[in-house]
């Protein structure tokens, strides 16, 4: 704990997260060269989400925050982004039905 009550993350964890992020960047590149059909995009997005989650939880300290409001704000961001994408896609995907 630092003076104002913030969690100090060990250097080793930061290095581990950094290494995992770099390794998964390599994996994304490698997997993209193998033909998996539509799975290519899904795998790439899953890896990106995994990497983004690591950055948000560890580098951005969300895992250690005592402020519950911060987490509510983050979930609302994900929720409204999801709303934007799914409703837009629902519109786009069903226009041919008319």
């Amino acid at each position: 704990m630092s003076e104002n009550g913030h969690h100090v993350v060990p250097v080793k964890l930061y290095m581990l997260v950094g290494a995992i992020l770099l390794i998964f960047t390599g994996i994304t590149y490698g997997v993209a060269l193998i033909d998996l059909g539509p799975l290519n995009t899904i795998v790439a997005l899953c890896i990106a989400t995994f990497k983004a989650t690591l950055v948000v939880l560890i580098f951005m300290h969300v895992k250690y925050t005592s402020e519950k409001l911060t987490k509510a704000v983050i979930f609302s961001a994900i929720f409204f982004l999801g709303l934007l994408l799914t409703l837009s896609l629902a519109d786009f995907g069903t226009r041919a039905w008319l």
Partner: protein
């Protein structure tokens, strides 16, 4: 802090003690922790608006990609994926050095803080350097949307017979330049913020009780990194196989 009625602040100033907590605590906060939590929440709210800002562009990308998939794949294949992967690595390393900078600020290691901020700035600048090289390549190939746009040299991997729709490929590049351009603008602003942090920390503005700017600019920097984590596969890796 002439507008403050807080006795602690006044007596601190009288005693000539000027640590960051006494200098920076605003009178409407109970203590530094409350002030810091409030600043952090405000920063997160700003990042939510940024998520929605980039989200609109991701949505446009998604729909056009579904409409013009083959042209988007061909246009994406014309971008050099090695530079993109290298840039992803550079940006991730800069996020690591930024996280280390915040850690140094938490522990009061002022000299190391400056070193890590300098490294973060260096990697950020390297990212922009690679990006401008990529933009210059696209300029030479006439792949920048506008009057001189030309994608006659484009080929869809594994489907040499497919005739690429020039306007659809141009749409990909419009979205590519809008998204990477907006991302690059955020990086440029980030470099400016880094310069501010370096000057402020060399002047002794921060200590273990007060380093909110380091923390919040750190959040901004990581957010810009997260945007790139998605941009890389979506723009560079639409289809890299013959399938």
């Amino acid at each position: 802090m002439s507008d403050s009625h807080g006795s602690a602040v006044v007596s601190g100033a009288h005693a000539g003690i000027q640590d960051a907590a006494q200098r920076e605590l605003r009178h409407h906060f109970v203590d530094m922790q409350q002030q810091s939590n409030t600043a952090s929440l405000g920063m997160w709210l700003f990042l939510v608006t940024e998520v929605m800002f980039f989200g609109g562009m991701f949505c446009a990308y998604l729909i056009y990609r579904l409409m013009y998939f083959k042209d988007f794949a061909a246009a994406s294949q014309s971008i050099n994926v090695s530079w993109g992967a290298a840039n992803t690595a550079i940006l991730l390393v800069s996020s690591f050095t930024m996280a280390m900078a915040v850690r140094c600020a938490q522990l009061g290691k002022q000299k190391l803080l400056v070193v890590f901020l300098l490294f973060t700035m260096l990697f950020g600048a390297a990212f922009l350097g690679v990006k401008s090289k990529e933009y210059y390549d696209k300029y030479k190939e006439h792949h920048i949307p506008g009057a001189n746009f030309n994608f006659d040299d484009g080929k869809l991997l594994g489907h040499p017979e497919y005739v690429i729709n020039q306007r659809h490929a141009e749409m990909f590049f419009s979205i590519y330049f809008a998204m990477t351009g907006m991302h690059a603008l955020h990086m440029i602003i980030g470099l400016g913020l880094m310069a501010y942090l370096i000057i402020a920390s060399m002047r002794g503005k921060f200590d273990t009780s007060y380093y909110t700017p380091v923390e919040n600019i750190g959040l901004y920097w990581h957010f810009v990194d997260v945007v790139w984590i998605y941009l890389f596969p979506l723009l560079y890796l639409i289809s890299r196989t013959k399938g």
